[in-house]
Point group: none
Chain length 248, copies 2
């Protein structure tokens, strides 16, 4: 990994999370903390960020900030962290959109080599920031509010892909009602993904567990792994566990 590359990644992380830890970065890209520290020092000297004891901070603290208000960001970050663990080098990964998926995209370790296939424009853009990830965009009509592509073409293309892993951003999940959503076309796409992927991972903040929307994507049994920000043995998740779903 080149020096500039490393620094670009660090900068990206800083601007994203407003904070980075030397220790964390060191581990993430497999270089010594000394190197990280030198990188931080350099970036700070160029005024790109602020160096502090133990890591670095975004300039926005110091200057004018634009607070990115993602709902329940901490929970989603926890979920994304768990999800990243499932991805191995060489995998084909299929993903929907949504803020949880976006967190996942941001937490992918830079040395990971994999192919990400997605219908989500924001997710695709985020994946593109990673040096070793190949990104495939599924095209079709763009659903304006969710910024994902939907329609027959998209569905046909998804069917052509046998993904190793499929991450679904969940809108509502319930033991009886299954996985549900509220946009007809989005549901069609999710349905196809669930049907074709080898392993389906649902990512869902606990707040949405045991809720339901009007349109059904699939049964809970069709999901292989459920990730929430809660402890796997949490009471709220027992019903899903006993349905044979692996909880993370």
């Amino acid at each position: 990994m080149l020096k500039k590359e490393r620094q670009a990644y660090i900068l990206h992380q800083v601007n994203l999370h407003n904070k980075v830890l030397s220790s964390h970065l060191s581990e993430q890209m497999g270089v010594s903390e000394d190197t990280i520290r030198r990188d931080l020092a350099e970036l700070a000297k160029e005024g790109k960020m602020l160096k502090v004891h133990g890591g670095g901070l975004s300039n926005s603290f110091h200057q004018g900030a634009v607070a990115q208000d993602v709902y329940a960001i901490e929970e989603k970050r926890i979920i994304a962290m768990k999800a990243v663990e499932l991805i191995r080098d060489g995998m084909f990964v299929l993903t929907t959109g949504g803020t949880t998926i976006l967190q996942l995209a941001r937490m992918l370790p830079p040395e990971l080599r994999a192919t990400f296939v997605t219908v989500s424009l924001p997710a695709a853009s985020e994946y593109a920031n990673h040096p070793n990830i190949e990104v495939i965009v599924i095209g079709d009509k763009l659903s304006k509010n969710s910024k994902i592509t939907v329609g027959g073409e998209a569905i046909a293309k998804i069917k052509d892909i046998r993904a190793d892993l499929c991450f679904i951003g969940v809108n509502a999940i319930d033991v009886q009602a299954g996985l549900t959503d509220n946009d007809w076309e989005v549901v069609q796409v999710k349905k196809t993904m669930v049907a074709t992927a080898k392993k389906v991972v649902a990512m869902c903040i606990s707040e949405k567990v045991n809720t339901a929307e009007h349109l059904k994507v699939c049964n809970v049994e069709d999901i292989d792994i459920l990730i929430t920000e809660l402890q796997p043995k949490s009471k709220k998740l027992q019903p899903y566990s006993s349905k044979g779903i692996k909880i993370l």
Copy 2:
């Protein structure tokens, strides 16, 4: 292997992967690292890429990463303003990516009803903000630095569309050399667009008029309308005008 050939290949690799290693390139085309280094130095001096210790990086690291400040934004705004005039209700409009196109996207009047087809993720996101525009995304592999989709699938899809209007963001244009660019795959996409659209509109800041890159998209005669920020009767544009191209 000729020098120009080598450099074109290097540029292609850089634009594709965002990164090249001197050692890798040297081995790949069987020349010494010295030669590669000299090539990189040359390309960097021309501003086509960024040279760093151990290899080279795409310009996007240096520029597009954090800097929101679009180069020559005022010129591009003028160009976009002229371009908007060409679009009528009900049209199918095909567009590439690039900052000029993005300006166009932002200036579309809200009451315009049209279908926009694009390979550019940022452009698609921008189009999606408009209430009456239907957006079709062409899918395929994502070219990381240009954030547009490229490849056989994308080209095949473009061929299926008979667009009324095609807006091309121009990298370099010259009476002799025609419309040229520097990324092999991007060129393939642009070529297809020019070939299939009913009317081709090239958008180009005057700075890029009478410059050329290595890879040809099409002849100037293949363009129907050329838009720059200059007055249509400007001297610099006369050669194009006399080739039968309409100047705006």
